[in-house]
């Protein structure tokens, strides 16, 4: 009988099925790896186990006890603990105080620091971790902070330890001691669910591997019976169902953007060229540095070195304003947080980047503003009865169109799209693809960041793959497919 069983778990969010009749068995004492692309449903699955998400259907069985849903409290009681990428430690408290946070050992009403330090030291001794329990958490490196998190879970008698991308923030040496810790915990009988994008460590640590894709479990297999190629195929193996609007080959020989040895903001030595009329796709897993690269080009974050040449002119933006003046536009990743002004109407959103241009003596030419907004409303079909509608009342797809309209109005030569179709419906998606085509057909260039493999393959003329802040591969249209891209992105 498995220690943890998920039976037929389904969870729907508006417009998307995050978990689709998921069945998963986790045996006692195993290291069970969970792999899949961004958005495959791994995070939602964890949330079901921690009680953060209530599934619409299905049962959770832990040690023979059956639940329709867990609560955070119940989850802890049943021995489930999670190590997140973002730690839940209080910087200003000591290591021991963090381990016993919320259940401090007391003498009467006074906290018994000594007893806590002793018990913490005892846990560290068992786990062979070398940390002073009285040290402040703020003084520890990321790797040690993670070990404190693990010790905290152990001190709560965690039977099932879920680790979400635990190696992502660590250096190579720190990752090694993490692997040793995982093996030690396993030897002591703790069951571990290990989520990772790094295939090497998955093969090194796990007994069994479960592949998720599109909210479903694709397959669970013994790690010994499979290999990297097969795994990547399973992860990406969806049929290319969507059709992408055809665009005539319009890539010119003229280089529009040239980037040499660009570094900073977590990316290193980036070299790339984009030609006029080209869609350059930027592939990589979350945290690979794609958005970070876009931020450098757009002047959001300072660079530490390198050169950027746009249209023959060297460019060194310190603010987005300067990048925009040079002809760059950025359709950001997080629409609501970075893109739209929810309390402002459609017209005001569209004109935001060109207000100074359509003003005389500081006064906005409202007729011109209206004309431009009207023009883009028509040409990219923003569905609204009136331009005075506040943007918060629009659907996600229409909000995205408003952002694109804002940038088209600024007449850029290079448009960076960061996850251009995230969370929007199919109809709006294909309209946005058509817009991208129109942009490049009119001689502009597009840099497209996307976690949707299909979209990258369907839209790009060329794909660059990033990993750990570096370009690790460049694929021409005839070479790239889901396997080649994922293979490059997930290695290491």
């Amino acid at each position: 009988m498995p220690l943890l069983q998920l039976k037929n778990i389904t969870k729907r969010y508006p417009g998307v099925v995050a978990l689709n009749h998921v069945n998963l068995d986790v045996e006692k004492g195993e290291v069970h790896a969970l792999v899949g692309e961004n958005g495959a449903g791994k995070s939602t699955l964890i949330k079901v186990c921690t009680g953060a998400v209530v599934p619409a259907e299905g049962q959770i069985v832990i040690g023979g006890q059956e639940f329709a849903a867990l609560t955070p409290r119940l989850s802890v009681q049943m021995g489930i603990a999670v190590i997140y990428q973002e730690f839940n430690l209080v910087d200003g408290l000591s290591v021991a105080e963090n381990i016993f946070l919320g259940r401090a050992i007391r003498k009467g009403i006074v906290i018994d620091r000594k007893a806590m330090a002793n018990q913490a030291a005892e846990i560290f001794r068992q786990l062979e971790i070398d940390i002073d329990p009285n040290e402040l958490v703020a003084n520890l490196t990321v790797g040690y902070q993670q070990l404190v998190e693990i010790a905290k879970a152990v001190s709560q008698n965690a039977q099932i330890l879920i680790m979400d991308e635990p190696s992502a923030p660590l250096t190579q040496a720190e990752a090694e001691s993490l692997y040793a810790m995982v093996e030690k915990l396993k030897a002591s009988g703790v069951t571990i669910i290990y989520i990772s994008h790094r295939m090497k460590e998955v093969f090194r640590l796990s007994d069994r591997i479960t592949v998720m894709r599109d909210g479903q479990i694709i397959e669970t297999m013994n790690a010994a019976d499979t290999n990297l190629d097969d795994l990547v195929k399973l992860m990406v193996g969806r049929e290319l169902t969507e059709t992408y609007p055809i665009r005539k080959d319009c890539v010119s020989d003229e280089v529009l953007l040239e980037v040499e040895n660009l570094s900073g903001n977590g990316v290193h030595d980036i070299n790339l060229q984009i030609r006029k009329g080209e869609v350059l796709g930027l592939a990589g897993l979350i945290g690979a540095g794609r958005t970070e690269l876009a931020e450098l080009l757009f002047g959001v974050k300072p660079r530490t070195g390198g050169r950027v040449v746009l249209n023959g002119k060297e460019l060194h933006p310190r603010l987005p304003k300067e990048a925009i003046d040079c002809g760059i536009a950025l359709v950001p990743e997080d629409r609501k947080r970075q893109g739209v002004l929810l309390d402002v109407d459609i017209k005001g959103n569209i004109s935001m980047a060109i207000l100074e241009r359509i003003s005389r003596f500081f006064t906005v030419n409202k007729k011109e503003e209206k004309r431009i907004a009207e023009h883009y409303k028509e040409s990219i079909r923003i569905k609204t009865p009136t331009l005075e509608q506040k943007v918060k009342n629009l659907s996600g797809g229409n909000q995205q169109k408003v952002i694109i309209a804002k940038w088209l109005a600024s007449e850029p030569t290079l448009v960076i799209f960061d996850e251009p179709t995230r969370g929007i419906d199919v109809g709006a998606k294909s309209e946005i693809y058509a817009l991208v085509n129109r942009l490049v057909e009119s001689g502009k260039a597009v840099l497209m960041i996307s976690s949707e493999m299909e979209e990258l393959i369907g839209m790009s003329d060329r794909v660059l793959v990033l990993r750990d802040g570096r370009i690790v591969g460049e694929l021409e249209r005839k070479e790239f497919n889901q396997e080649t891209i994922m293979g490059l992105a997930a290695q290491g």
């Binding site: 603010l319 987005p320 950001p332 893109g339 929810l342 935001m352 003003s359």
Partner: protein
């Protein structure tokens, strides 16, 4: 689950009416109440008096509303009124300057103080409430240092026109307030700066990514807040005919109350000058009416504090969904 209880439906409709016209209803109710309660209230001389009393607040409120739109706050305007008051008086009396020159220098000073607030807030990323609180204490101290705690008087006669003069039946301070409120409305509605205030207050990150130089917007807004407070300081000086350190004491709280009553959100991005005017009139009518009814000054304080608390509570309830 649909909620069909009639009480809730009425509540919802009332809330949506209240959101748009609430402040005018409050104003109307107060005017009716005081008209009935005191025969001296609804007479033209008293109403003009109310208008003149609120004009200082109205002048300062325009800049203050800009700051709130930006998602900030400026607690230093009361002290700044006092400082401008003292500096102008000192320049005219002790240094013997021409009133025009003294006024211009004092206004430049007030804008400079505002700019410093903006610069510190934008570049050191400090919370506006702390920066402007510190500034409030600093400039109050400076004002005391200049006048040594004593009132300064003996201005040229012509200077009194600003605060005490009339055009026809209308007091000049009221005209100044009208002009500045008109200017405020124009800035918000028609210039790109106004759009930037809403944008930065509504979503600073999106504003920056849309090419707005957020720092410059902050410099401008806090400078304007200082500048308008400076004008209020000059008007008060001319009206009282003597420079006094306490002349602006507590003004920031009255202005804050008026702005929030007028629907300017303390979380930024939402608000209109026309409704701020209504908020100011509510406060003006309230204090005038209470004086006419012989309500003690201490009771008035309790009432004003409660009004501020209620106004902010309503604002937070309205904008809770946003955060």
């Amino acid at each position: 689950m649909k909620d069909s209880s009639p009480l809730k439906t009425i509540g919802r409709v009332a809330a949506s009416i209240g959101k748009q016209y609430g402040i005018y209803l409050v104003l109307l109710t107060l005017v009716l109440f005081f008209s009935i309660a005191s025969e001296n209230f609804f007479v033209s001389s008293n109403l003009l008096n109310v208008a003149r009393q609120v004009s200082m607040m109205g002048i300062a409120a325009v800049g203050f509303a800009f700051v709130l739109l930006l998602g900030g706050i400026d607690l230093s305007i009361g002290s700044l009124v006092s400082l401008v008051n003292i500096v102008t008086a000192w320049l005219m009396v002790n240094a013997g300057w021409n009133p025009v020159l003294a006024v211009l220098v004092a206004l430049a000073l007030s804008a400079a103080v505002g700019f410093s607030n903006g610069w510190i807030i934008a570049n050191l990323q400090m919370p506006p409430i702390i920066v402007t609180l510190a500034m409030m204490i600093i400039i109050e101290g400076v004002a005391y240092l200049i006048c040594k705690g004593l009132p300064i008087f003996g201005f040229p006669k012509s200077f009194a026109v600003i605060g005490q003069g009339y055009v026809g039946p209308v007091p000049i301070p009221v005209i100044i307030m009208a002009v500045i409120m008109g200017l405020g409305m124009f800035i918000l509605r028609s210039t790109y700066f106004g759009r930037y205030f809403y944008a930065v207050g509504g979503n600073e990150e999106a504003a920056e990514l849309s090419g707005i130089d957020v720092k410059r917007v902050k410099y401008l807004v806090y400078s304007l807040s200082g500048f308008f407070a400076g004008i209020a300081g000059i008007v008060i000086l001319s009206r009282t005919n003597s420079g006094q350190v306490l002349s602006g004491k507590g003004l920031e709280f009255d202005v804050l109350t008026a702005c929030v009553l007028g629907g300017v959100s303390v979380s930024g991005g939402v608000g209109k000058i026309s409704n701020v005017l209504a908020g100011i009139l509510v406060l003006g009518v309230l204090s005038n009416g209470l004086v006419l009814l012989d309500v003690s000054q201490f009771v008035q304080m309790v009432i004003k504090g409660s009004v501020l608390l209620t106004a902010v509570a309503l604002d937070c309830l309205q904008h809770r969904k946003k955060t």
